[in-house]
Amino acid sequence: MKTRSIRGHVIGIIAILVSAVIFLVPFAFLVVTSFKNVQEASFLDFTWPREQFAFWENVVAVFQTNDFQLITAFINSGILTVSSVATMVVLSAMIGWVVSRRASRWNGLINMLVLAGLIVPPAVVPTIWVLQGLGLFKTMPGLILIEVAFGMSFCILLFRAFVGTIPKELDEAAILDGAGPLRLFFQVGFPLLRSVIVTVIVVQAVTVFNDFANPLYFLPGAENATVQLTLYNFQSQYQTSWNLLFTDILLITVPPLIMYIFFNRQIVSGLTAGAVKG
């Protein structure tokens, strides 16, 4: 028993050292570089800033770039994330609710479409063509609907599984009391789905906020930039100003980080759904 715990400790210490080198050093490097001024940052040394602690100056500089593009970008990303996640949650919860509660002949088709939504890569130019036809290309509502369409499959999967665990007796009581389908869903179903809704919101919010490819394709233009695109735009402009680039990365990592700190458990349960058969 004793030799075993010693071995456990040795493995533990090795694991901590290795993980520190592989996972913490890149992050620490990011942080210390964002503290430096341009000249010092250009050496790419992994050291504490020697010449000047320039973090605050860097933050101001990053915000001022391109007429405060980062502020616009935070607003854009905020609108995009909140609207698309809210829409996604309501629409997919309704689908998951009906599909799970009702044995319909449509269910086979719906399952197939959900699976297709997870696997099939979206066809980029034809999607732009459709958006143009609807007058939604290069507009925020267009991008919001795109995120909804691409994210729904994952949400439906989670909702459908969860609805299956809620006893139907609760519905039956409400139906006997004369509740219509809308009242049944919003007043009985929705509150019972609370925990899975939180999971879906957190996972999808982080996904949409970190999304790069869809805004790049479907919402081009500097005034429309989302936070991920500021990195892309600043990259050519800053050339070797690693300090500013890294400061920008740090700033746009703050919202997902806050999400992680508060909703750690929900993120984990949402992302690991499927690991256990049941």
Partner: protein, 307 residues
């Protein structure tokens, strides 16, 4: 919890005898499906079907001309585009295999009695949350051939590091490494959930029979975490074959076109105004993903039910 498998096989929801057919169904009307179905049909299904038409055209929104299989021929004759095709396969396969192997080992380690478990889990998972573009830019600095931290550290112990992202033969593998760095936390978490769900009785029975740790791993853990393995393989394959962000943030497909994948070719051809060729790339990507993921999916699910 659900498995991806239920979707494919379309396991019907268990029907309750007590539900009263049409009356009960009226409480779950089909029109609930409509709003979601409308968005999905217009912005996903229509473009997907349209892509099978536009892939056979020379197209730029203003004019369109049917050219048969020319785009596909170009795709497989032009060495730049062929390289993108093979790189996609390399990227998808290597990242999936490594994530399965490493993820399982790390998960076993983290569910054993090791100390500082919480710290290790948080550290490994954190990169999953950082934006892919941010990770890509950070590693561009770390992997810089002259000033990068990696090569400076190697130089300190007397090894001259290669040009990780600038050597045409190495670039795609370096990006693969970064992708594994970013995604391993998710694979580990999925495996941890799978391992925790294995009933302790199996291990107790095995230890009475005198089975060692190694034997336990192969005869109990590996077969019983099969659902987790399925999830990790499918997710990594889907993500890996479609990967764009990380490649764009680290190499932009370069040097030259050495690290291009189909997804980056699609973007480049779109930017260059070759919409038909770009769409043909999309169709090829669709076929590649379907041809690889679907058989594995069916096979893994069958294996799962055999147990």
């Amino acid at each position: 919890m659900t498995t991806l498998g239920q979707v494919a096989t379309g396991t019907p929801t268990p029907r309750r005898r007590r539900s009263r057919g049409p009356l009960a169904n009226r409480s779950y009307p089909h029109w609930f499906l409509l709003p979601g179905a409308a968005v999905y049909a217009v912005l996903f299904i229509v473009p997907t079907f349209a892509s099978f038409f536009f892939a056979f055209t020379r197209w730029n929104f203003f004019s369109i001309q049917f050219i048969g299989f020319d785009n596909f021929v170009t795709f497989f004759e032009d060495p730049q585009l062929t390289r993108g095709f093979t790189n996609t396969l390399i990227f998808g396969v290597i990242t999936s295999v490594v994530k399965v192997a490493l993820g399982l080992v790390l998960a076993v380690l983290l569910t054993s009695g090791i100390f500082a478990r919480g710290y290790l889990r948080a550290v490994i998972f954190f990169p999953v949350l950082v934006s892919t573009i941010g990770v890509g830019i950070t590693f561009r600095a770390l992997l810089d051939p002259y000033d990068g931290l990696v090569n400076k550290s190697l130089a300190a112990i007397g090894i001259q590091g290669p040009g990780w992202l600038t050597d045409p033969n190495l670039a795609i593998f370096s990006v693969i490494g970064v992708d594994i760095w970013k995604g391993i936390g998710l694979a580990t978490l999925i495996y941890m959930a799978g391992i925790v769900a294995i009933p302790r009785d199996y291990y107790e029975a095995a230890s009475i029979d005198g089975a060692s740790g190694w034997k336990n791993f192969w005869s109990i853990t590996v077969p019983l975490v099969m659902p987790a393995t399925t999830t990790v393989i499918i997710l990594s394959l889907i993500g890996g074959l479609r990967s764009f962000d990380l490649i764009w943030a680290t190499t932009r497909g370069g040097p030259g076109f050495a690290s291009d994948v189909i997804a980056s070719v699609i973007y480049k051809q779109y930017q260059a105004g070759y919409y038909g060729l770009s769409t043909a790339g999309n169709v090829i990507l669709f076929l590649v993903v379907a041809a690889i993921v679907l058989p594995i999916f069916v096979w893994l699910n069958r294996k799962q039910t055999d147990l």
